[in-house]
Symmetry: C2
Subunit: 321 residues, 2 copies
């Protein structure tokens, strides 16, 4: 009897169909992912990849969590500007900082990129990296999204969290490679995605080594040292990881170079784009969006062989909570 | 009988004394290391550290492998200069490059830092990062040291390789944090130390994303982007690892800030200096050395509580082969 059940189990539809990626609908997208993992992890397959080379990289904003109406790190900067201005009336001494502190996004946008850089610099500096990361993590866990009225940490995508887990279960190393600030992301990526600080690659602020109250500290400076976006993503990967990934996931043209560089090398490769098609449960946007614009990558995806995930059709659940 | 043997085993000197760190003599240095690992891994101890926070960082040159008569990466640059000049007589078109190509170290040194930067830039660029790392690894495995007449990869320190293994066995994550070039080190650190490319932090050359023969590549440029030495080490650690280590090992004043920053934070901390005291088996040098100068860190070690490892007394074997 026991043997009979065992044979039955072996003969049944592969177990993967039952348990893997439960928040993905049974569509070709899910099958393509499962097939790629099977192909690269079967030691007898010609497409087998050694565990040390199973590097998978994921963009963050719009790929692992939401990014509307604007990147969450920007909303964090506004909240910090308000708090800093409340604690010290002298703090908001320029038009850009004043606009940020009062939440006047229109005035802030009128200042262009220079104003944004000024606000990010002023709100992301003057403390140790460790303190900043702790504050960022607390904000992500407690502050609430303006329209979805839930903590930002609950606005991660459950299907993508499952995908990260599934890849790790299959011997992949998972990394985040984002235009977002690395010190910001490290405040929550372990809790939200199971991706610990060393596996987070992002944009870098300058920092200096200083003795504060007799103790050495690494202090965040207002200037930017490296932008991990577009061409910067493959460069950031080679700086921090030192190996070309075999799996890359993104959602915007900012991920084009990372996808192209990952998938154009020899051997089995996987490129994936999360397409925001779900106005009901999340948001629907692509070619004309200010945030997370997806245009060239969407056009080129079929020729490049990149999987375009249709959020509305391919995901049974969107948010982690 | 079996039970009796079992009880005997439990009652005996801890197993660690028999098997851990076999190339270390039974001196206080070895005991201090074993005690720290015990203290941080015993779940019942007040000094217990969660595995995710067991970050250990190691300098490379002079700490994990030799660095005399000069940093091995510099000898690699000279070998590459000779090969590039042989392939293209136009290549050595400046005094610095000519000196490098002919191995005229005296003339090269006369050019000062600018000459060195020119030579490193010219020999470490114009190819993909992946090709460069492959070439570096091949050189480390095959080229021979000028006086010790053995491949550089055999000039790693066996006691330090054992220490890396022992820490990993006890749930530590081990990283290299070196002034050496990250793309150079990644060619051999996995084979030599069991430290894979993502766990190597080092100085960074600039790089650009380029389409070469229709395929995207990350190409090394001659300019330097980041020097991972002195104050740069804690900054490099916060960029790449994002967590303050609890264990740091170095051998020169270039490691001072990393040691100080690591050991001055709360909780159990370990700082270690490899002191080159072994003129017979390796080299003996410290305060007056051009390479790997150890002066202030040696003076401050007792007050800072850093373990100074006496290579001649504490190590029964020096080289891996």
């Amino acid at each position: 009897m026991l043997r009979f059940i065992f044979v039955l189990l072996l003969a049944a539809t592969p177990l993967r169909a039952e348990v893997a990626l439960p928040s993905w609908n049974d569509t070709p997208a899910r099958t393509a992912i499962l097939d790629f993992v099977d192909a690269t992890t079967d030691p007898k397959a010609a497409t087998f990849v050694e565990p040390k080379d199973r590097i998978a990289v994921f963009d963050n904003d719009g790929t692992l969590w939401a990014e509307q109406p604007v990147y969450f790190q920007f909303l964090f900067a506004l909240d910090r500007a308000r708090a800093l201005a409340a604690a010290d009336p002298e703090w908001a001494k320029t038009p850009a900082l004043k606009a940020a502190a009062t939440g006047d996004v229109k005035a802030l946008m009128a200042g262009g990129e220079a104003a944004l850089i000024e606000v990010v610099g002023a709100t992301h500096s003057g403390m140790t990296v460790e303190e900043f990361t702790r504050e960022a993590g607390e904000w992500v866990r407690t502050a609430k999204h303006p329209t979805k009225d839930r903590p930002y940490i609950d606005m991660t995508y459950l299907p993508m969290v499952e995908l990260l887990d599934y890849l790790r279960l299959n011997g992949f190393s998972t990394y985040i490679v984002s235009g977002g600030g690395v010190d910001f992301m490290r405040g929550f990526t372990d809790e939200a995605y199971g991706v610990p600080p060393p596996n987070v690659v992002g944009s870098l602020g300058k920092a200096t080594y200083q003795i504060v109250d007799g103790k050495p500290q690494v202090i965040k400076d207002p200037a930017i040292a490296f932008i991990d976006d577009k061409e910067g993503k493959p460069i950031g990967i080679m700086r921090s990881i030192g190996q070309r990934p075999i799996f890359a996931a993104g959602n915007s043209d900012g991920d084009y170079q990372m996808l192209d560089w990952t998938t154009s090398a020899d051997g089995p490769r996987f490129g994936m784009i999360v397409h925001h098609t779900d106005a009901k449960r999340e948001w629907a946007y692509d070619r004309d969006s200010m945030v997370g614009r997806l245009d060239k990558a969407l056009t080129d995806a079929p020729a490049k062989g990149w999987l375009v995930v249709d959020m509305a059709k391919d995901w049974s659940t969107v948010f982690a909570k």
